[in-house]
């Protein structure tokens, strides 16, 4: 091997070809319980002597058996584990419907100001006027962006917002003497949370088929409407990534039939600042702050799902809410009039309100509109670059913020959508959303968001095209055995579900339990 004057190797002659998978930096990490023990602790606390406790004989006898780590051990354990995760900060996350966009760190910094993080939900209202102002400002932004009359901030996540929105609709129908309306219309392409929410409230679900172009047919909605229909739950832009072209007609028909229009706002990112859902005739819509307004997904939450409400539903907003009065801002915590009760303890996801408002102020109205437009531009760019090879089930219209493909381009290759997605992992990308929406066979739903540069999009498209060529060339093995470069190969999910192991047990305990 030749050396330069600093003694460093130059050139690649005689160097073994790299077979590295990065394993040296990604060691397997044992479980917390396999490293720590009940004696170790990473927290120093003063000694206390309890002379006479006031526990009334309820003192713990059952062993806790909780493993502890000192601080350096804990640091290493959680840093090592973290390295086994893909994240938006390390690469593109093209998960359709999930809106994995950049999470600005200013948001995190602001959420940690003691004036927000270190205030108690039940301390006197006079001592939290800044928090109430923040909630009022966030509400103003949300109502302005959607052209609606009210907003309920407290839902904890999108599905919780759906629940609240549908509870408001149920209460409004009851107030009109229409409690007999027991049916909710849900298009086949809807998120699973929609029918789950409707069923939760005792509604039966009537499915609405899609038209050949992937949008909901106003005529089909009209035919499905009757005087026992309480509401329609419609996602717009829909889960195929398409704007519902007949949405205004649908809203009109729904209202004419005495029903309400619940809009699933999971895809609001495509239209924020460009189209106001209130102008389309919606009555309620949840907004996922963790999608549209960049609060981090955190490996599965926390989210936040404020619900905007039309004038017809505004009286049914739940407590608590902020109201301006002579002495400043007040928090209305107990029901008045038709207000729904409480759907969570306290005020909702304040930490997410801070992050979302920070994001809104950073973008401004102009920046939010530009972000929506760039999200749509990026999705259409991916669609344009891939459509000669990938199959596009609904090619008639430009897509919105996500591009949908089906698996017909994989016909005869023996490669499934799942195999294809796993092969993408080997190329350094997180897979797209697979097999959703259900209306498309072997769906691949790609949502780049506005955060990706043209360079990254080009890289992604080139990898996608390369993989498609590889599949068509008959190299099935590269797909069915994928991933091979990830920290784990494909997992045996059947085994996990058949005999569930849901916690760690000492080997002697585990074998005892098995007997």
């Amino acid at each position: 091997m030749s050396m330069n004057t600093q003694g460093r190797p130059t050139g690649t002659t005689n160097v073994n070809p790299s077979t590295s998978s990065g394993a040296a930096l990604l060691p397997d990490e044992p479980l917390l319980f396999e490293i720590g023990d009940t004696e170790h602790s990473g927290v120093d606390l003063p000694d206390v002597t309890l002379k006479a406790d006031r526990l009334g004989g309820f003192r713990r006898k059952m062993p806790l058996d909780l493993a502890g780590l000192t601080e350096p051990e804990a640091m290493r354990h959680y840093v090592r584990l973290s390295r086994l995760n893909y994240s938006i900060d390390s690469g593109m996350y093209p998960l359709g419907s999930c809106t994995m966009k950049h999470n600005p760190r200013l948001n995190e910094k602001m959420a940690r100001l003691p004036g927000f993080a270190d205030i108690h939900p039940l301390q006197p209202i006079s001592t939290v006027q800044g928090a109430l102002m923040l909630m009022e400002q966030l509400a103003h932004w949300l109502m302005t962006l959607t052209n609606t009359a009210a907003v309920a901030l407290s839902p904890k996540a999108g599905a919780h917002g759906e629940l609240l929105g549908m509870m408001a609709i149920k209460a409004a129908q009851a107030a009109r003497g229409q409690a007999h309306r027991k049916i909710v219309l849900v298009p086949e392409s809807a998120h699973g949370t929609n029918p789950a929410t409707a069923a939760f409230l005792g509604y039966s679900v009537r499915a609405i088929p899609a038209r050949a172009d992937g949008t909901v047919d106003a005529e089909a909605v009209r035919n499905a409407l009757s005087d026992d229909v309480a509401a329609i739950m419609l996602t717009n832009p829909n889960t195929c990534g398409l704007f519902e072209t007949q949405v205004i007609d649908i809203a009109q028909a729904v209202h004419d039939a005495g029903a309400f229009f619940y809009c699933d706002g999971a895809n609001f990112n495509a239209i924020m600042g460009v189209v106001r859902p209130g102008d389309l005739g919606i009555d309620a819509m949840h907004i996922n702050l963790h999608k549209t307004f960049s609060t981090p997904h955190g490996g599965g939450g926390p989210g936040a799902g404020p619900v905007v409400l039309s004038a017809a539903l505004a009286p049914f907003a739940p407590v608590p809410f902020v109201r301006r009065s002579e002495g400043g801002l007040e928090l209305v915590e107990h029901g008045e009039g038709q207000a729904l009760g409480r759907i969570t303890a306290f005020q909702g996801q304040m930490g997410m309100y801070v992050r979302a408002l920070t994001y809104m102020l950073s973008h401004g109205g102009d920046g939010l509109a530009q972000a929506a437009k760039d999200a749509v531009l990026n999705a259409n760019y991916i669609k344009a670059r891939l459509q000669s090879v990938f199959s596009v089930p609904y090619p008639q219209y430009p897509c919105m913020h996500e591009a949908l493909f089906d698996d017909s381009f994989l016909d005869q290759t023996g490669v499934s959508t799942l195999d294809f997605a796993k092969a993408l992992i080997d190329k350094g990308f997180h897979p797209m959303t697979m097999y959703f929406p259900l209306v498309v066979h072997g769906a691949m739903l790609v949502e780049p968001t506005e955060s990706e540069s043209k360079q990254t999009l080009d890289q992604f498209c080139e990898i996608m095209l390369e993989l498609a060529m590889d599949a068509k060339a008959g190299n099935k093995q590269n797909f069915v055995s994928a991933p091979i470069n990830a920290p784990r190969r494909r997992m045996d999910e059947t085994r996990a579900a058949r005999s569930p192991i849901l916690k760690w047990e000492r080997e002697d305990d585990a074998s005892e339990a098995a007997q």
């Binding site: 927290v43 938006i88 999470n103 939900p121 304040m350």
Partner: protein, 436 residues
């Protein structure tokens, strides 16, 4: 705009590749009546330092818990969170990961959830735990629904010691439901539920320490409930208490729901918090929310996946056990790291310290004239009866920089018999020399 990578030239190149004249042309399918040609009445984009100044301005108008003497609890507790916890949860790989649906590249989150579930099961003394719910209050409503599915009965009894917000949430979830019985507030910790259980009862819900701080006899409640075929749901709003108090599982609880905020998570004005749920092995398929399980990969190496998803909405749609999707992943991580740092030794010490602080507070309050302590037992929280209404007293003290506790009337308005009651908590930052 600092978060948007494209230059105008790049946008033009991309439009050319698409074959569109403008980005607006991509929105051509939007009905013209709904398309905004002009901007909305909102401020324009703003540099980081100005946004920060605005947010700091708002934050400065709040009185932070650390600014002075602080005794507020009632379902959310101020505990010290080690610096390590917040550093770790802000690592990109934790903070900016999605739900671990692709297990091959999400083993960090999945292993953490498996460890978290183990910690929650051990703390509560139950067989299994899920990967978290939104918070303790919504978790309680989910537990009630779960008990109904399990028993195929409808009647549910809520103890008068249950946190009033939790009661209100359960009522909200089960609106118009005649089978829900909410018992009157029991500030003296009086038994109130056992003689109401009958053979139509699906479940009873008992909180310990209860809203007023009393420790409730779970063992007896379990025996009476089980004799009638009903389930016992135990609610814990202060999870640190389980370092010192007997595990609900040891007393025969069927479902345990807890608010996990106390470990690893800040007060945050009420959220995000962390719902914990644990139950018996045989009930696991009716448990809502995500669950992580151990398995092996194609090479036979140990790994973790989300499992039992046939309970969940994305598979079962209208037949799912719950509509929950997003949960409290990052709060669960903070909880798990903090509890991993504490370990058994640290948690026991922390719980003792809290109880010792509370004993000191109780003793100090005992010396105040005309103040009556209602608790014979407590962990780190108690209720006192003042000679006057509590709310104005709390306001007055707030004016002097002291956050004295929660007047019960804030949660139970229009109840004269509760008007003079004040709930106070003492946690480890309450140094007895300074604040009592």
């Amino acid at each position: 705009m600092r978060y948007l990578p494209h230059s105008d030239a790049e946008r033009a190149d991309m439009l050319a590749a698409i074959g569109a004249q403008s980005i607006e042309a991509l929105f051509s399918v939007v009905p013209a009546a709904a398309m905004r040609s002009s901007g909305l009445d909102l401020p324009r984009h703003s540099p980081e330092f100005l946004v920060e100044a605005h947010m700091r301005g708002l934050a400065s108008q709040n009185h932070a818990a650390g600014d002075g003497p602080f005794f507020v609890g009632a379902g959310a507790y101020r505990h010290h969170v080690p610096a390590t916890v917040d550093h770790l949860i802000q690592r990109s790989e934790w903070l900016t990961a999605y739900t671990p649906y692709q297990p091959e590249i999400s083993q960090g989150t999945l292993q953490m959830l498996f460890e978290f579930q183990t910690q929650v099961a051990k703390l509560t003394g139950m067989d299994v735990a899920n990967a978290s719910l939104y918070d303790g209050s919504t978790g309680t409503a989910e537990a009630v629904l779960m008990a109904r599915r399990l028993t195929r009965r409808n009647k549910v009894l809520l103890s008068g010691g249950l946190h009033p917000h939790y009661r209100d949430v359960v009522c909200g979830y089960l609106k118009d439901d005649a089978d829900l019985v909410c018992l009157d507030a029991s500030p003296e910790g009086q038994g109130d539920i056992l003689d109401r259980i009958d053979d139509q009862t699906a479940a009873i819900v008992v909180q310990t320490p209860d809203f007023y701080g009393h420790l409730r006899n779970i063992e007896t409640a379990a025996a009476v409930a089980h004799a009638k075929g009903a389930l016992l749901i135990v609610v814990v709003t202060e999870i640190v208490s389980l370092g010192l108090l007997e595990a609900p599982g040891a007393y025969g609880a069927d479902i345990v729901v807890a608010e996990g905020q106390s470990i690893g998570n800040a007060l945050n004005f009420g959220g995000p918090y962390l719902g914990l749920m644990a139950t018996r092995q045989q009930f696991v398929r009716q448990m809502p929310g995500r669950v992580c399980g151990e398995t092996v990969d194609a090479d036979g190496n140990r790994g973790f996946v989300l499992t039992l998803s046939t309970r969940e909405q994305h598979i079962r749609r209208e037949k799912a056990t719950s509509n929950i999707c997003t949960n409290s992943g990052l709060c669960a991580l903070a909880f798990s790291i903090h509890l991993g740092l504490l370990g058994e030794a640290g948690l026991v010490k922390l719980a003792r310290l809290n109880h010792e602080r509370a004993c000191a507070l109780a003793d100090a309050l005992g010396t105040v004239k005309n103040v009556e302590l209602l608790n014979a037992t407590f962990f780190n929280e108690m209720t006192i009866r003042l000679p006057v209404a509590a709310e104005p007293v709390v306001e007055q003290l707030a004016g002097r920089g002291i956050l004295a506790g929660v007047p019960v009337s804030r949660l139970e308005p229009g109840r004269p018999e509760l008007e003079n009651l004040l709930v106070l908590a003492a946690t480890e930052p309450n140094d007895r020399c300074k604040h009592c």
